[in-house]
Protein backbone atom coordinates (compact mmCIF):
# COMPACT_ATOMS: atom_id res chain seq x y z
CA UNK A 1 0.00 0.00 0.00
CA UNK A 2 2.75 2.34 1.05
CA UNK A 3 4.62 1.47 -2.08
CA UNK A 4 1.62 2.32 -4.20
CA UNK A 5 1.03 5.76 -2.74
CA UNK A 6 4.72 6.59 -3.06
CA UNK A 7 4.56 5.78 -6.74
CA UNK A 8 1.36 7.67 -7.43
CA UNK A 9 2.82 11.16 -7.78
CA UNK A 10 5.74 10.28 -10.09
CA UNK A 11 3.45 8.18 -12.26
CA UNK A 12 0.93 11.02 -12.64
CA UNK A 13 3.72 13.47 -13.44
CA UNK A 14 5.20 11.08 -15.99
CA UNK A 15 1.87 10.52 -17.72
CA UNK A 16 1.25 14.27 -17.75
CA UNK A 17 4.62 14.80 -19.42
CA UNK A 18 3.85 12.13 -22.00
CA UNK A 19 0.51 13.75 -22.80
CA UNK A 20 1.85 17.30 -22.91
CA UNK A 21 5.00 16.44 -24.88
CA UNK A 22 3.67 16.91 -28.46
CA UNK A 23 2.31 20.35 -27.56
CA UNK A 24 5.70 21.36 -26.24
CA UNK A 25 7.89 20.11 -29.07
CA UNK A 26 5.55 20.74 -31.97
CA UNK A 27 3.34 18.29 -33.76
CA UNK A 28 5.38 17.00 -36.64
CA UNK A 29 8.94 17.25 -35.63
CA UNK A 30 12.01 15.29 -35.06
CA UNK A 31 11.57 15.31 -31.29
CA UNK A 32 8.29 13.49 -31.57
CA UNK A 33 10.05 10.72 -33.51
CA UNK A 34 12.69 10.37 -30.84
CA UNK A 35 10.00 10.05 -28.19
CA UNK A 36 8.24 7.37 -30.23
CA UNK A 37 11.46 5.45 -30.48
CA UNK A 38 12.00 5.73 -26.74
CA UNK A 39 8.51 4.40 -26.01
CA UNK A 40 8.93 1.45 -28.38
CA UNK A 41 12.32 0.58 -26.95
CA UNK A 42 10.84 0.71 -23.45
CA UNK A 43 8.64 -2.24 -24.45
CA UNK A 44 11.62 -4.05 -25.93
CA UNK A 45 13.80 -3.43 -22.88
CA UNK A 46 11.03 -4.48 -20.49
CA UNK A 47 10.55 -7.71 -22.43
CA UNK A 48 14.23 -8.47 -22.01
CA UNK A 49 14.12 -7.52 -18.36
CA UNK A 50 11.63 -10.33 -17.77
CA UNK A 51 14.36 -12.78 -18.73
CA UNK A 52 17.48 -11.12 -17.38
CA UNK A 53 16.11 -9.21 -14.42
CA UNK A 54 13.23 -11.31 -13.16
CA UNK A 55 14.20 -14.86 -14.03
CA UNK A 56 17.96 -14.51 -14.23
CA UNK A 57 18.38 -16.12 -17.64
CA UNK A 58 20.66 -14.63 -20.26
CA UNK A 59 19.45 -14.85 -23.84
CA UNK A 60 21.51 -13.55 -26.73
CA UNK A 61 18.77 -14.20 -29.23
CA UNK A 62 16.19 -11.66 -28.24
CA UNK A 63 16.55 -9.82 -31.56
CA UNK A 64 14.88 -12.83 -33.19
CA UNK A 65 11.53 -11.80 -31.76
CA UNK A 66 11.99 -8.11 -32.48
CA UNK A 67 12.94 -9.04 -36.03
CA UNK A 68 10.00 -11.40 -36.44
CA UNK A 69 7.60 -8.64 -35.42
CA UNK A 70 9.29 -6.17 -37.74
CA UNK A 71 9.24 -8.41 -40.80
CA UNK A 72 5.80 -9.89 -40.25
CA UNK A 73 4.16 -6.50 -39.88
CA UNK A 74 6.14 -4.83 -42.66
CA UNK A 75 5.63 -7.61 -45.19
CA UNK A 76 1.94 -8.04 -44.44
CA UNK A 77 1.34 -4.30 -44.71
CA UNK A 78 3.46 -3.73 -47.82
CA UNK A 79 2.77 -6.86 -49.84
CA UNK A 80 -0.69 -7.81 -48.68
CA UNK A 81 -2.01 -4.41 -47.57
CA UNK A 82 -3.00 -5.56 -44.13
CA UNK A 83 -4.09 -3.11 -41.51
CA UNK A 84 -1.29 -2.71 -38.94
CA UNK A 85 -3.42 -3.73 -35.98
CA UNK A 86 -4.30 -7.00 -37.70
CA UNK A 87 -0.62 -7.79 -38.26
CA UNK A 88 -0.16 -7.91 -34.50
CA UNK A 89 -2.09 -11.18 -34.41
CA UNK A 90 0.31 -13.17 -36.62
CA UNK A 91 3.21 -11.38 -34.91
CA UNK A 92 2.13 -12.58 -31.49
CA UNK A 93 1.25 -16.07 -32.72
CA UNK A 94 4.55 -16.55 -34.53
CA UNK A 95 6.58 -15.12 -31.65
CA UNK A 96 4.83 -17.41 -29.17
CA UNK A 97 5.53 -20.44 -31.34
CA UNK A 98 9.13 -19.35 -31.88
CA UNK A 99 9.56 -18.83 -28.13
CA UNK A 100 8.23 -22.31 -27.39
CA UNK A 101 10.51 -23.79 -30.04
CA UNK A 102 13.58 -21.89 -28.80
CA UNK A 103 12.69 -22.76 -25.22
CA UNK A 104 12.20 -26.47 -25.81
CA UNK A 105 15.40 -26.64 -27.82
CA UNK A 106 17.60 -24.74 -25.44
CA UNK A 107 16.14 -24.49 -21.94
CA UNK A 108 16.94 -28.08 -21.02
CA UNK A 109 20.65 -27.46 -21.11
CA UNK A 110 22.72 -25.58 -18.56
CA UNK A 111 22.64 -21.79 -18.48
CA UNK A 112 25.78 -21.13 -20.51
CA UNK A 113 24.73 -23.51 -23.31
CA UNK A 114 21.30 -21.95 -23.32
CA UNK A 115 22.95 -18.59 -23.89
CA UNK A 116 25.06 -19.91 -26.76
CA UNK A 117 22.11 -21.66 -28.36
CA UNK A 118 19.99 -18.52 -28.25
CA UNK A 119 22.81 -16.65 -29.96
CA UNK A 120 22.78 -19.19 -32.78
CA UNK A 121 18.99 -19.36 -33.09
CA UNK A 122 18.74 -15.59 -32.90
CA UNK A 123 20.94 -15.21 -35.96
CA UNK A 124 18.69 -17.45 -38.07
CA UNK A 125 16.25 -14.71 -39.00
CA UNK A 126 19.07 -12.22 -39.61
CA UNK A 127 20.65 -14.57 -42.12
CA UNK A 128 17.34 -15.54 -43.70
CA UNK A 129 16.30 -11.90 -44.08
CA UNK A 130 19.59 -11.17 -45.82
CA UNK A 131 19.32 -14.09 -48.21
CA UNK A 132 15.63 -14.18 -49.13
CA UNK A 133 16.03 -11.14 -51.35
CA UNK A 134 12.83 -11.54 -53.30
CA UNK A 135 10.72 -11.63 -50.23
CA UNK A 136 12.51 -9.44 -47.73
CA UNK A 137 14.41 -7.06 -49.98
CA UNK A 138 17.67 -8.51 -48.72
CA UNK A 139 20.17 -6.12 -47.27
CA UNK A 140 18.32 -3.08 -48.65
CA UNK A 141 15.20 -4.05 -46.76
CA UNK A 142 11.68 -2.94 -47.63
CA UNK A 143 11.00 0.77 -47.45
CA UNK A 144 7.66 2.54 -47.41
CA UNK A 145 6.04 1.00 -44.36
CA UNK A 146 3.16 3.30 -43.43
CA UNK A 147 2.93 4.97 -40.03
CA UNK A 148 0.30 3.98 -37.50
CA UNK A 149 -1.88 6.96 -38.38
CA UNK A 150 -1.72 9.82 -40.85
CA UNK A 151 -0.98 12.18 -38.03
CA UNK A 152 2.32 11.67 -36.28
CA UNK A 153 0.85 12.96 -33.04
CA UNK A 154 -1.88 10.33 -33.16
CA UNK A 155 0.75 7.64 -33.76
CA UNK A 156 2.71 8.95 -30.82
CA UNK A 157 -0.29 8.77 -28.53
CA UNK A 158 -1.15 5.28 -29.71
CA UNK A 159 2.36 4.05 -29.03
CA UNK A 160 2.39 5.77 -25.65
CA UNK A 161 -0.89 4.08 -24.75
CA UNK A 162 0.46 0.68 -25.74
CA UNK A 163 3.65 1.19 -23.76
CA UNK A 164 1.72 2.22 -20.67
CA UNK A 165 -0.61 -0.75 -21.10
CA UNK A 166 2.38 -3.10 -21.35
CA UNK A 167 3.87 -1.71 -18.15
CA UNK A 168 0.58 -2.01 -16.29
CA UNK A 169 0.29 -5.60 -17.49
CA UNK A 170 3.85 -6.39 -16.48
CA UNK A 171 3.34 -4.83 -13.10
CA UNK A 172 0.53 -7.29 -12.52
CA UNK A 173 2.50 -10.15 -13.96
CA UNK A 174 5.66 -9.75 -11.90
CA UNK A 175 3.79 -9.77 -8.61
CA UNK A 176 1.51 -12.66 -9.55
CA UNK A 177 2.19 -16.13 -8.13
CA UNK A 178 3.94 -16.97 -11.40
CA UNK A 179 6.04 -13.81 -11.24
CA UNK A 180 7.11 -14.67 -7.72
CA UNK A 181 8.21 -18.12 -8.86
CA UNK A 182 10.34 -16.53 -11.59
CA UNK A 183 12.11 -14.46 -8.96
CA UNK A 184 12.60 -17.58 -6.87
CA UNK A 185 14.24 -19.22 -9.89
CA UNK A 186 16.52 -16.21 -10.19
CA UNK A 187 17.43 -16.48 -6.50
CA UNK A 188 17.95 -20.22 -6.34
CA UNK A 189 16.91 -22.40 -9.24
CA UNK A 190 17.80 -25.71 -7.61
CA UNK A 191 15.76 -24.86 -4.54
CA UNK A 192 12.79 -23.86 -6.65
CA UNK A 193 12.83 -27.30 -8.24
CA UNK A 194 13.09 -29.07 -4.92
CA UNK A 195 10.09 -27.35 -3.42
CA UNK A 196 8.04 -28.65 -6.30
CA UNK A 197 8.05 -26.19 -9.18
CA UNK A 198 8.52 -27.33 -12.74
CA UNK A 199 11.17 -24.76 -13.57
CA UNK A 200 11.16 -25.58 -17.29
CA UNK A 201 7.48 -24.65 -17.54
CA UNK A 202 8.05 -21.33 -15.84
CA UNK A 203 10.96 -20.52 -18.09
CA UNK A 204 8.78 -21.33 -21.08
CA UNK A 205 6.04 -19.03 -19.80
CA UNK A 206 8.43 -16.13 -19.36
CA UNK A 207 10.11 -16.77 -22.69
CA UNK A 208 6.73 -16.75 -24.44
CA UNK A 209 5.57 -13.54 -22.78
CA UNK A 210 8.92 -11.88 -23.35
CA UNK A 211 9.04 -13.02 -26.98
CA UNK A 212 5.53 -11.80 -27.70
CA UNK A 213 6.26 -8.37 -26.23
CA UNK A 214 9.53 -8.09 -28.15
CA UNK A 215 7.58 -9.00 -31.30
CA UNK A 216 5.04 -6.25 -30.65
CA UNK A 217 7.91 -3.81 -30.11
CA UNK A 218 9.36 -4.90 -33.47
CA UNK A 219 6.02 -4.44 -35.21
CA UNK A 220 5.62 -0.95 -33.79
CA UNK A 221 9.18 -0.11 -34.70
CA UNK A 222 8.68 -0.49 -38.45
CA UNK A 223 5.74 1.89 -38.37
CA UNK A 224 8.07 4.38 -36.73
CA UNK A 225 11.09 3.80 -38.97
CA UNK A 226 9.09 3.27 -42.17
CA UNK A 227 11.48 0.57 -43.31
CA UNK A 228 12.37 -2.97 -42.36
CA UNK A 229 15.94 -4.25 -42.79
CA UNK A 230 18.01 -7.20 -41.52
CA UNK A 231 19.84 -5.23 -38.82
CA UNK A 232 16.56 -5.10 -36.91
CA UNK A 233 17.01 -8.84 -36.30
CA UNK A 234 20.76 -8.77 -35.69
CA UNK A 235 22.49 -9.51 -32.45
CA UNK A 236 23.25 -5.80 -32.14
CA UNK A 237 19.60 -5.37 -31.32
CA UNK A 238 19.94 -7.86 -28.47
CA UNK A 239 22.98 -5.94 -27.24
CA UNK A 240 20.84 -2.82 -27.16
CA UNK A 241 18.33 -4.59 -24.93
CA UNK A 242 21.13 -5.68 -22.62
CA UNK A 243 22.54 -2.11 -22.56
CA UNK A 244 19.18 -0.65 -21.68
CA UNK A 245 18.53 -3.17 -18.92
CA UNK A 246 21.99 -3.01 -17.37
CA UNK A 247 22.34 0.78 -17.53
CA UNK A 248 18.87 1.37 -16.14
CA UNK A 249 18.93 -1.50 -13.67
CA UNK A 250 17.24 -4.89 -13.80
CA UNK A 251 14.75 -6.70 -11.65
CA UNK A 252 12.39 -3.74 -11.38
CA UNK A 253 10.13 -2.19 -14.01
CA UNK A 254 11.53 1.33 -13.84
CA UNK A 255 15.11 0.32 -14.67
CA UNK A 256 14.74 -0.78 -18.29
CA UNK A 257 12.46 2.19 -19.01
CA UNK A 258 15.10 4.59 -17.70
CA UNK A 259 17.75 2.64 -19.61
CA UNK A 260 15.76 2.78 -22.85
CA UNK A 261 15.33 6.53 -22.45
CA UNK A 262 19.05 7.09 -21.87
CA UNK A 263 20.24 4.77 -24.62
CA UNK A 264 17.87 6.12 -27.28
CA UNK A 265 18.37 9.79 -26.43
CA UNK A 266 22.13 9.46 -26.06
CA UNK A 267 22.55 7.46 -29.25
CA UNK A 268 20.43 10.00 -31.12
CA UNK A 269 22.56 12.88 -29.89
CA UNK A 270 25.85 11.06 -30.45
CA UNK A 271 24.75 10.05 -33.93
CA UNK A 272 24.90 13.73 -34.90
CA UNK A 273 28.60 13.79 -34.20
CA UNK A 274 29.83 10.32 -35.09
CA UNK A 275 28.73 7.01 -36.52
CA UNK A 276 30.74 5.24 -33.87
CA UNK A 277 28.33 5.90 -31.03
CA UNK A 278 28.35 2.25 -30.04
CA UNK A 279 31.94 2.75 -28.95
CA UNK A 280 30.78 5.20 -26.31
CA UNK A 281 28.23 2.75 -25.09
CA UNK A 282 30.87 0.10 -24.79
CA UNK A 283 32.78 2.34 -22.42
CA UNK A 284 29.66 3.31 -20.46
CA UNK A 285 28.73 -0.35 -20.23
CA UNK A 286 32.07 -1.29 -18.70
CA UNK A 287 31.87 1.57 -16.22
CA UNK A 288 28.32 0.65 -15.20
CA UNK A 289 29.17 -3.01 -14.71
CA UNK A 290 32.25 -2.17 -12.66
CA UNK A 291 30.99 0.65 -10.49
CA UNK A 292 27.21 0.41 -10.40
CA UNK A 293 26.16 -3.17 -11.06
CA UNK A 294 22.60 -2.46 -9.96
CA UNK A 295 22.19 0.22 -12.62
CA UNK A 296 20.82 3.72 -12.24
CA UNK A 297 17.57 2.73 -10.57
CA UNK A 298 19.51 0.49 -8.23
CA UNK A 299 21.57 3.41 -7.06
CA UNK A 300 18.58 5.69 -6.72
CA UNK A 301 16.80 3.20 -4.47
CA UNK A 302 19.91 2.81 -2.33
CA UNK A 303 20.57 -0.76 -3.23
CA UNK A 304 24.20 0.05 -3.85
CA UNK A 305 24.65 0.48 -0.13
CA UNK A 306 23.23 -2.95 0.53
CA UNK A 307 25.56 -4.50 -2.02
CA UNK A 308 28.43 -3.01 -0.09
CA UNK A 309 27.06 -4.49 3.10
CA UNK A 310 27.12 -7.91 1.52
CA UNK A 311 30.72 -7.41 0.52
CA UNK A 312 31.78 -6.39 4.00
CA UNK A 313 29.83 -9.33 5.37
CA UNK A 314 31.72 -11.63 3.05
CA UNK A 315 35.02 -10.13 4.04
CA UNK A 316 34.23 -10.58 7.69
Amino acid sequence: MNNKSKLLVPVIVLIAIIIAYPFVVGQAGYYLSVAMKVLIMVIFAESYNLLLGYTGIVSLGHALFFGLGSYISAILMLRYHWNFWLTLIPTVVVCVLAAVAVGLLSLRVKAIYFTMLTLALGQLLFVAANKAYNFTGGEDGLPGVPGLFQSKTASYYAIAAITIAVIVLLRKFVSSPTGMVLQAIRENEMRTKIIGYNVLNYKLIVLVLSGALAGIAGSLYVTYSGIVYPALASSERTMEAIFMCVIGGTGNLAGPAVGAFIVVVASTILNNFTNRWLLFFGIVFVVVIMFMPTGITGILSGRKKKEKDIETELVN
Binding site: L169, K172, F173, S175, S176, P177, T178, G179, M180, V181, Q183, A184, E187, N188, M190, R191, T192, K193, I194, I195, G196, Y197, N198, V199, N201, I205, I310
Partner: protein
Protein backbone atom coordinates in the same frame (compact mmCIF):
# COMPACT_ATOMS: atom_id res chain seq x y z
CA UNK B 1 4.79 -54.02 4.84
CA UNK B 2 2.50 -51.43 3.33
CA UNK B 3 3.21 -49.49 6.51
CA UNK B 4 6.54 -48.22 5.26
CA UNK B 5 6.53 -44.77 3.70
CA UNK B 6 10.04 -45.15 2.34
CA UNK B 7 11.78 -48.26 1.15
CA UNK B 8 15.36 -48.14 -0.05
CA UNK B 9 16.33 -51.29 -1.88
CA UNK B 10 19.88 -52.41 -2.65
CA UNK B 11 21.09 -48.95 -3.54
CA UNK B 12 24.56 -48.74 -5.03
CA UNK B 13 26.32 -45.64 -6.32
CA UNK B 14 29.72 -45.25 -7.95
CA UNK B 15 31.44 -42.11 -9.14
CA UNK B 16 33.87 -43.29 -11.78
CA UNK B 17 35.73 -46.12 -10.10
CA UNK B 18 34.86 -45.09 -6.57
CA UNK B 19 32.07 -46.95 -4.91
CA UNK B 20 30.30 -44.59 -2.52
CA UNK B 21 27.32 -46.73 -1.60
CA UNK B 22 27.05 -50.49 -1.69
CA UNK B 23 23.86 -52.45 -1.43
CA UNK B 24 22.13 -50.12 1.02
CA UNK B 25 18.64 -51.23 2.04
CA UNK B 26 16.31 -49.98 4.77
CA UNK B 27 12.74 -49.01 5.40
CA UNK B 28 11.08 -46.19 7.26
CA UNK B 29 7.67 -46.77 8.79
CA UNK B 30 5.03 -44.10 8.48
CA UNK B 31 5.19 -41.51 11.24
CA UNK B 32 8.57 -42.69 12.48
CA UNK B 33 11.83 -40.88 12.98
CA UNK B 34 15.00 -42.46 11.68
CA UNK B 35 18.46 -40.98 11.96
CA UNK B 36 21.33 -41.94 9.73
CA UNK B 37 24.71 -41.53 11.34
CA UNK B 38 28.17 -42.25 10.08
CA UNK B 39 31.60 -40.66 9.80
CA UNK B 40 32.41 -38.07 7.15
CA UNK B 41 32.51 -39.60 3.71
CA UNK B 42 30.31 -42.53 4.70
CA UNK B 43 27.92 -41.65 1.87
CA UNK B 44 25.07 -40.13 3.86
CA UNK B 45 24.51 -37.11 1.68
CA UNK B 46 24.86 -39.18 -1.49
CA UNK B 47 22.14 -41.45 -0.15
CA UNK B 48 19.95 -38.39 0.44
CA UNK B 49 20.66 -37.10 -3.03
CA UNK B 50 19.48 -40.40 -4.45
CA UNK B 51 16.33 -40.58 -2.35
CA UNK B 52 15.40 -37.00 -3.19
CA UNK B 53 16.00 -37.44 -6.91
CA UNK B 54 18.99 -35.13 -7.19
CA UNK B 55 21.15 -38.08 -8.30
CA UNK B 56 20.40 -41.38 -9.94
CA UNK B 57 21.70 -44.55 -8.27
CA UNK B 58 24.01 -46.88 -10.16
CA UNK B 59 21.88 -49.79 -8.97
CA UNK B 60 18.86 -50.42 -6.78
CA UNK B 61 15.55 -48.62 -6.31
CA UNK B 62 13.74 -46.24 -4.01
CA UNK B 63 10.06 -46.65 -3.18
CA UNK B 64 7.93 -43.89 -1.72
CA UNK B 65 4.54 -45.06 -0.45
CA UNK B 66 4.94 -48.14 -2.60
CA UNK B 67 5.69 -46.21 -5.80
CA UNK B 68 9.04 -46.65 -7.49
CA UNK B 69 10.48 -43.14 -7.50
CA UNK B 70 14.01 -43.96 -8.64
CA UNK B 71 15.21 -41.22 -10.96
CA UNK B 72 12.02 -39.14 -10.80
CA UNK B 73 12.53 -35.38 -11.13
CA UNK B 74 12.74 -33.58 -7.79
CA UNK B 75 9.79 -31.29 -8.42
CA UNK B 76 7.53 -34.31 -8.84
CA UNK B 77 8.79 -35.88 -5.64
CA UNK B 78 8.10 -32.64 -3.80
CA UNK B 79 4.54 -32.65 -5.11
CA UNK B 80 4.11 -36.26 -4.02
CA UNK B 81 5.10 -35.29 -0.49
CA UNK B 82 8.81 -35.94 -0.23
CA UNK B 83 10.80 -32.89 0.81
CA UNK B 84 14.36 -32.35 1.82
CA UNK B 85 16.59 -29.82 3.48
CA UNK B 86 20.25 -29.29 2.76
CA UNK B 87 23.50 -29.49 4.63
CA UNK B 88 24.55 -26.23 3.04
CA UNK B 89 21.91 -23.60 3.65
CA UNK B 90 19.73 -23.52 0.59
CA UNK B 91 17.24 -20.67 0.70
CA UNK B 92 16.18 -17.72 -1.43
CA UNK B 93 18.73 -15.21 -0.13
CA UNK B 94 17.31 -11.95 -1.41
CA UNK B 95 13.70 -12.72 -0.68
CA UNK B 96 12.16 -11.91 2.66
CA UNK B 97 11.84 -14.66 5.24
CA UNK B 98 8.09 -14.69 4.84
CA UNK B 99 8.39 -14.94 1.04
CA UNK B 100 10.75 -17.91 1.44
CA UNK B 101 7.97 -19.71 3.29
CA UNK B 102 5.12 -18.38 1.17
CA UNK B 103 6.64 -19.47 -2.13
CA UNK B 104 6.95 -23.00 -0.76
CA UNK B 105 3.33 -23.03 0.40
CA UNK B 106 2.25 -21.88 -3.05
CA UNK B 107 4.07 -24.75 -4.76
CA UNK B 108 1.38 -27.33 -4.08
CA UNK B 109 -1.63 -25.22 -5.00
CA UNK B 110 -3.37 -24.63 -8.27
CA UNK B 111 -2.60 -20.94 -8.01
CA UNK B 112 1.02 -21.46 -8.88
CA UNK B 113 0.47 -20.74 -12.56
CA UNK B 114 -1.75 -17.71 -11.94
CA UNK B 115 -0.51 -14.87 -14.12
CA UNK B 116 -2.28 -11.65 -13.29
CA UNK B 117 -3.62 -11.72 -9.75
CA UNK B 118 -1.47 -10.19 -7.08
CA UNK B 119 0.23 -12.88 -5.06
CA UNK B 120 -0.94 -11.41 -1.74
CA UNK B 121 -4.58 -12.04 -2.69
CA UNK B 122 -3.88 -15.67 -1.84
CA UNK B 123 -4.19 -15.19 1.90
CA UNK B 124 -3.86 -18.87 2.76
CA UNK B 125 -0.21 -19.03 1.81
CA UNK B 126 0.63 -15.92 3.78
CA UNK B 127 -1.29 -17.19 6.80
CA UNK B 128 0.50 -20.51 6.65
CA UNK B 129 3.84 -18.73 6.32
CA UNK B 130 3.01 -16.64 9.41
CA UNK B 131 2.05 -19.75 11.35
CA UNK B 132 5.28 -21.51 10.46
CA UNK B 133 7.30 -18.45 11.38
CA UNK B 134 6.10 -18.97 14.95
CA UNK B 135 6.61 -22.72 14.81
CA UNK B 136 10.28 -22.40 13.91
CA UNK B 137 10.81 -19.55 16.36
CA UNK B 138 11.45 -16.79 13.87
CA UNK B 139 8.69 -14.47 15.09
CA UNK B 140 9.17 -10.87 14.13
CA UNK B 141 11.78 -11.64 11.48
CA UNK B 142 9.40 -12.14 8.57
CA UNK B 143 10.30 -8.91 6.81
CA UNK B 144 14.05 -9.43 6.90
CA UNK B 145 15.87 -10.63 3.83
CA UNK B 146 16.83 -14.26 4.30
CA UNK B 147 20.48 -13.49 3.68
CA UNK B 148 20.51 -11.12 6.67
CA UNK B 149 19.57 -13.84 9.16
CA UNK B 150 22.18 -15.50 11.34
CA UNK B 151 23.29 -18.95 10.32
CA UNK B 152 21.23 -20.64 13.03
CA UNK B 153 18.18 -18.63 11.96
CA UNK B 154 18.71 -19.67 8.37
CA UNK B 155 18.75 -23.29 9.47
CA UNK B 156 15.42 -22.69 11.17
CA UNK B 157 14.07 -21.08 8.03
CA UNK B 158 15.21 -24.12 6.09
CA UNK B 159 13.20 -26.34 8.46
CA UNK B 160 10.26 -23.96 8.13
CA UNK B 161 10.36 -24.38 4.38
CA UNK B 162 9.99 -28.12 4.89
CA UNK B 163 6.93 -27.50 7.02
CA UNK B 164 5.45 -25.13 4.46
CA UNK B 165 5.74 -27.89 1.90
CA UNK B 166 3.84 -30.08 4.34
CA UNK B 167 5.72 -33.14 3.17
CA UNK B 168 4.70 -36.56 4.38
CA UNK B 169 8.34 -37.49 4.49
CA UNK B 170 10.98 -34.94 5.39
CA UNK B 171 14.66 -35.53 4.80
CA UNK B 172 16.85 -33.37 7.01
CA UNK B 173 20.48 -33.22 5.97
CA UNK B 174 22.39 -32.17 9.08
CA UNK B 175 20.11 -29.37 10.23
CA UNK B 176 22.63 -28.34 12.88
CA UNK B 177 25.58 -28.13 10.49
CA UNK B 178 27.71 -25.15 11.41
CA UNK B 179 25.40 -24.14 14.24
CA UNK B 180 27.05 -23.29 17.56
CA UNK B 181 26.63 -25.61 20.52
CA UNK B 182 24.47 -23.09 22.39
CA UNK B 183 22.05 -22.73 19.51
CA UNK B 184 21.72 -26.44 18.74
CA UNK B 185 19.18 -27.31 21.45
CA UNK B 186 16.72 -24.70 20.13
CA UNK B 187 17.03 -26.19 16.66
CA UNK B 188 16.59 -29.75 17.90
CA UNK B 189 13.57 -28.51 19.83
CA UNK B 190 12.00 -27.29 16.59
CA UNK B 191 12.53 -30.73 15.06
CA UNK B 192 11.19 -32.42 18.18
CA UNK B 193 8.02 -30.35 17.85
CA UNK B 194 7.63 -31.45 14.26
CA UNK B 195 7.90 -35.06 15.35
CA UNK B 196 5.35 -34.47 18.08
CA UNK B 197 2.66 -33.43 15.58
CA UNK B 198 2.87 -36.98 14.25
CA UNK B 199 2.05 -35.76 10.75
CA UNK B 200 5.45 -36.28 9.24
CA UNK B 201 7.84 -39.17 8.85
CA UNK B 202 11.38 -37.98 9.27
CA UNK B 203 14.72 -39.14 7.99
CA UNK B 204 17.63 -37.23 9.47
CA UNK B 205 21.35 -37.11 8.93
CA UNK B 206 23.25 -35.93 11.95
CA UNK B 207 26.73 -35.83 13.36
CA UNK B 208 25.86 -34.73 16.85
CA UNK B 209 24.40 -38.08 17.79
CA UNK B 210 24.17 -37.33 21.48
CA UNK B 211 21.39 -34.87 20.68
CA UNK B 212 19.25 -37.12 18.56
CA UNK B 213 19.49 -40.36 20.53
CA UNK B 214 16.26 -39.73 22.41
CA UNK B 215 14.15 -38.38 19.54
CA UNK B 216 15.04 -41.10 17.06
CA UNK B 217 12.85 -44.19 16.82
CA UNK B 218 15.59 -45.98 14.94
CA UNK B 219 19.17 -45.22 14.02
CA UNK B 220 20.93 -46.51 10.94
CA UNK B 221 24.70 -46.49 10.76
CA UNK B 222 26.46 -45.97 7.46
CA UNK B 223 30.15 -46.76 7.25
CA UNK B 224 32.23 -46.66 4.07
CA UNK B 225 29.08 -46.84 1.97
CA UNK B 226 27.65 -49.87 3.76
CA UNK B 227 24.79 -49.94 6.22
CA UNK B 228 26.30 -51.73 9.20
CA UNK B 229 23.42 -51.41 11.64
CA UNK B 230 19.80 -50.27 11.73
CA UNK B 231 18.05 -50.56 15.07
CA UNK B 232 16.63 -48.82 18.12
CA UNK B 233 18.92 -46.26 19.76
CA UNK B 234 19.56 -48.40 22.85
CA UNK B 235 20.74 -51.34 20.79
CA UNK B 236 22.84 -49.14 18.53
CA UNK B 237 24.47 -47.60 21.57
CA UNK B 238 25.66 -51.01 22.66
CA UNK B 239 26.63 -52.26 19.21
CA UNK B 240 30.33 -53.02 19.15
CA UNK B 241 30.75 -52.66 15.39
CA UNK B 242 29.12 -49.24 15.50
CA UNK B 243 31.33 -48.07 18.29
CA UNK B 244 34.40 -49.18 16.41
CA UNK B 245 33.35 -47.63 13.15
CA UNK B 246 31.98 -44.41 14.42
CA UNK B 247 33.90 -43.55 17.52
CA UNK B 248 37.05 -45.55 17.25
CA UNK B 249 35.95 -47.76 20.13
CA UNK B 250 34.71 -45.02 22.49
CA UNK B 251 31.23 -45.09 23.93
CA UNK B 252 28.46 -43.04 22.32
CA UNK B 253 27.41 -40.22 24.57
Amino acid sequence: MSESILKVQNIGKSFGGTEVLRDVSFELERGKFKTIIGPNGAGKTTLFNIISGVMKPTSGSVFFEGTDITGMPTYKLAQMGLGRSFQVTNIFPRSTVIENLRIVAQAKSNAKYQLFRHYTTYKDFLDLADEILVQVKLEGKGDRLAKDLTHAEQRKLEIGMQLALNSKLILFDEPTAGVSAEECPALIEVIRNIKRTGEHSILLIEHKIGMIMDISDTIAVLHNGVLIADDEPEIIRKNKAVQDAYLGGGAIE
